[in-house]
């Protein structure tokens, strides 16, 4: 069996397993608590697996090892930022949010603010963050399939993206949160197993000696010790160093503002279970990122990563699959073909699971925040709301497909880092102010969300990422004046500042009056939503 056939068979298997799970879950779901929050009946461990599944996206699995393979030590900085960020979620957000909200990120703001403005703002930023994140995953899927089948065809990439889009709409509309959570759990197991396997195989080639692996990477890339030291990519100029600091901030503060991660905390019955799920997630994600170090340096040591190589042409995204082929025996061998197919299927499962999680998040927010509260003013039935969520999933899936097809030249890591910057600038300030600042009010929340969001988007639009550099989206014109490719260092403080300014310039005693209720509920869980029993 050729590598392509085997890959195709494994891809189909992944799709069949996930479709099966979705049908099974749909038979056990009814009502909004099931659709949005999986009945709040998952255990801390199960949800920890699902959180890890949601978090370890194509950007983590394919992106980071690729960045390490190409840029050496500098790529490892991503792993660290993505992991440390979980402490913000654990210490300040997960438990309090679980107790004070119901289905979406906006719930805990609406607890003491005017519902319509804050829900509209929160739903807008939820959809923006999720669409950026979705785009990255779908672009990854297109590139992965096209390069695996060895066909550089725009039509095939577009077809893959449409296929992924249809699948994700199916998972969400049929399986809801319960189906999506089980897909995440299965994916997390596949991803961890695949990564451990390749890591052990790589290490065995170097007598399980890290120093030997690093030496081989330094030699094979021809960059010597520089490859093992910080600065190869970001140490070029003062601007690039500040850019790195900006990226570092966005990474560490972004996680706790990602809507698709936040709503995962609603799938467990208690705050203690939410804490336990973050602990499991930190353990799993941390071990995974430690292994990306071996995968990245392994790819640098064993593959050709020069400017004309396949790894470099894919922006590093194919480093992991090609490394799997190499440690399996190399191109043309059975072992190589099996491992390449296996790791590619794992990457595909990763992409499918993450897009499902993102679509569900945006669809929930549109149905629960915009439709039920803003349009219908709460006068709607559960059945109607779930129906609207399904329609929204369909529309958002369509939008993501339409945007992803022309976006195939966009850099995946850029899109994900941008999603993190938007999350940190628009969502984190209002979340933290609401939980810890009694005086915080509606205008503060609205200014923090729109202010962070708009600052972030405007700075990106005028950055060298969009125009005025060789790798820019638009070539031939230059309207850039903002020198950094990640806006976090400006837009995150802007979000906090505007939230503070909006609050102190408006008088809304009712928000402060209700803070004690929110605080008691958040810290004790008194009166919070419990598990659904069937």
């Amino acid at each position: 069996m050729s590598s392509q056939t085997l890959t195709a068979v494994l891809f189909v298997t992944v799709v069949l397993i996930t479709v099966g799970i979705t049908f099974w879950a749909s038979r056990q779901s009814s009502g909004t608590a099931d659709f949005y929050a999986g009945g709040r009946s998952f255990s801390g461990f199960q949800n920890g697996m699902a959180v890890s599944g949601d978090y370890m996206s194509a950007a983590s699995f394919l992106g980071i090892s690729g960045l390490i393979a190409l840029n050496g030590y500098d790529g490892f900085l991503y792993s660290i930022g993505f992991l440390v960020a979980w402490l913000v979620a654990l210490l300040l957000v997960a438990e309090l949010l679980r107790n004070s909200g119901r289905f979406t990120m906006a719930d805990q703001l609406a607890y003491r603010m005017r519902q319509r403005p804050v829900r509209t703002a929160a739903a807008t930023s939820t959809v923006v963050v999720s669409v950026f994140y979705l785009l990255a995953q779908m672009v990854g899927a297109g590139a992965l399939v096209a390069l695996l089948l060895n066909v550089e065809s725009e039509a095939l990439k577009a077809l893959t993206i449409v296929g992924v889009g249809m699948l994700m709409v199916f998972y969400v509309t049929v399986g809801g949160m319960k189906g999506t959570t089980w897909v995440q759990i299965v994916k997390a197991v596949l991803l961890m197993t695949g990564t451990v396997l390749i890591t052990v195989l790589v290490l065995s080639k170097f007598h399980f000696n890290l120093s030997e692996l690093f030496q081989a990477a330094a030699d094979n890339t021809g960059k010597g010790q520089k490859f093992l030291q910080p600065g190869l990519k970001y140490g070029v100029s003062t601007t690039s160093r500040i850019d790195f600091l900006s990226l570092g901030l966005a990474l560490v503060l972004g996680t706790a503002g990602l809507p698709h991660i936040l709503i995962r905390f609603y799938t467990v019955p208690t705050a203690a279970a939410a804490r336990k799920s973050v602990l499991w997630a930190i353990g799993l994600i941390g071990s995974f990122y430690l292994m990306t170090l071996v995968l990245g340096f392994g790819a640098a040591a064993l593959l050709d990563t020069g400017p004309d190589s396949k790894v470099a042409a894919s922006g590093g995204n194919l480093a992991s699959p090609l490394l799997a082929e190499a440690v399996g025996g190399g191109a043309g061998t059975t072992g190589g073909a099996v491992l390449l197919a296996l790791i590619s299927a794992v990457a595909f499962a990763t992409i499918l699971a993450v897009v499902a999680g993102l679509t569900l998040t945006s669809a929930s927010s549109v149905a629960h925040d915009l439709y039920a509260t803003v349009f219908k003013k709460g006068k709607t039935t559960e059945k109607d709301e779930v129906k609207v969520a399904r329609i929204a999933a369909f529309v958002i899936g369509g939008v993501a497909v339409v945007l992803a097809i022309p976006a195939q030249k966009l850099n995946i890591a850029f899109l994900v880092a941008l999603a993190f910057a938007v999350a940190a600038s628009a969502n984190l300030p209002s979340l933290l102010y609401n939980l810890f600042w009694p005086r915080f009010n509606t205008r503060g929340a609205v200014w923090a969300i729109y202010g962070g969001l708009i600052t972030c988007l405007v700075l990106v639009f005028f950055s060298p990422v969009v125009s005025g550099s060789e790798a820019a989206l638009v070539t031939g014109a230059d309207w850039s004046w903002f020198p950094l490719s990640n806006p976090g260092i400006i837009s995150i403080p802007a979000g906090f500042l505007l939230g503070w300014l909006g609050t102190i310039t408006s008088n809304e005693p009712i928000s402060a009056e209700r803070y004690p209720e929110l605080e008691v509920r958040a810290l004790t869980g008194a009166g919070s939503e419990g598990a659904v029993h069937h």
Partner: protein
Amino acid sequence: MAEPTPDREAVDEHRQTTANAAVYARLHETAEFEELRRRYRSFAFPATLAFLVWYLLYVVMSNWAGGFMDTKVVGNINVALVFGLLQFLTTFGIAFFYARYMHRNVDPLARQLEEQYNSEVPR
């Protein structure tokens, strides 16, 4: 002077207050709740400050302290790698100690207050 008239629409737009609001307000004033908040914050806030400073130190040193970060510790393992791995270690450590602290010092008090709430609210 009369009380300022509340903006009618703004009040409508807020979630309706429930009969339980009084129970929440009462619990908020108890010494137990004050203690619960103090215990939670006395761990979460300093720990957050500590790991953010520690992480930013790492980012800044990677950027601007090349000479020190490039120093070899053993074989090809340099200070930069050890520093990076220490970030993993401290993340695992803080997560573990936070969970243990909350389980021992905060959860029992939170459960006690939740039970008090349940006993005061008609089901």
